[in-house]
Amino acid sequence: MENVASHSNTQDQGEGQEHPIGIYLKVWILLFVLSFFSYLVDYFDFQGMVRWSLIIIFMLLKAGFIIAVFMHVMWERMALITAILLPPLLLITLIGFMISEGLYVFGARVEYLGQPAAAERNHVEHGDSHEGAYHEASMEGGH
């Protein structure tokens, strides 16, 4: 225990820790590559499960590298790591509740309000007469 406490990898004053510059540069390049990949997902217009899984994987990888290396979490002691990473896990509960609530609300809107279950998405046109287009759209919306 004594030995572990004074292990030099885990800094004692927080400030003395120093890491080879190479790891920063590697992670930096990796973040560029991953961002470029997630942009390509959109550029090549992947859809469905492929799109969602690729987006989520690239997002989690990027977030993980930023937290672990740029924010130095991988070099911290476990007491601090858990204090940082465990509380956000509570969000899973919130996400779960909101998915179930969302499904219910969507079902109610379709079933009782007669709203469309799968509305056709409109393609976006950039032009000059947008102010007019907006007013028309809000008229049609009729709210």
Binding site: W28, S35, I84, P88, L103, A119, R121, V124, H130
Partner: protein, 223 residues
């Protein structure tokens, strides 16, 4: 020598030791603990926005506008999807890299390098906010409002302005924070105690802003 991680059982030992001993739990400067507490609470704020947005997307029956078309720009006569957002993402990652180098320079007490790298980081932050202003004014000119837009679900505008606005506010505050620390480094304010941990703490904030953008980019712009 740093760089190696502890084994899992060593981690368990440090965990028990740090929480059960009659002394401070976190072996880092107090400012760093405070910054982490702030960042964890900020995580919950942004998570509320994004989870709220997720629920919107689940419940909205009106068609959601295609973000990649909304944010396309015309370059040499051809519309390129989402290009402005891609450039903003690269700028923010670049600024994270220069910030990481600034933290390293602070460990070497290389004051002019710290100042220059932090100033470059802040400059990239300004570029990011500038491009966001361009994006906002373009969309506002096209008729996007928090209560409606020409292309579909009216909630699109409210989510867009709230989430990107709150993130942009974080970037703007970060630029000011970085510049204050950078000038104090240059003046030698941290030499009295030879304590440069403030640079790492400011870096934590800046990387967090980049981290939030990763999630906004994935969920709002690519979804």
């Amino acid at each position: 020598m740093s760089g190696q991680s502890l084994t899992l059982s060593q981690h368990a030992d440090t965990m028990v030791e740090d929480w059960s001993a009659d002394k401070e739990t976190f072996h880092v400067p107090w400012g760093k603990v405070m910054m982490w507490i702030f960042l964890v609470s900020d995580t919950f704020i942004f998570s509320c926005f994004l989870v709220g947005y997720m629920k919107l997307r689940r419940t909205v029956t009106a068609p959601w506008p295609y973000p990649s078309e909304v944010f396309s720009l015309e370059i040499f006569g051809n519309p390129v999807p989402l290009i402005l957002i891609a450039i903003m993402t690269f700028i923010l990652i670049t600024s994270s890299g220069t910030m990481a180098l600034a933290v390293r320079a602070a460990q070497h007490r290389d004051k002019s390098a710290v100042f220059k790298l932090m100033a470059v980081t802040a400059f990239f932050g300004c570029c990011f906010v500038g491009m966001q202003m361009f994006e906002w004014s373009k969309l506002i000119a096209e008729g996007v409002r928090p209560w409606g837009n020409p292309w579909g679900a009216m909630q699109f505008g409210s989510v867009f302005f709230m989430v990107t606005g709150f993130h942009g506010l974080h970037v703007s505050c970060g630029v000011i924070y970085l510049m204050i620390v950078a000038f104090k480094v240059l003046k030698g304010d941290y030499d009295k105690k030879n304590d440069y941990s403030i640079v790492e703490i400011a870096g934590l904030y800046w990387h967090f802003v980049d981290l939030v953008w990763v999630f906004i980019f994935a969920f709002f712009y690519l979804w």
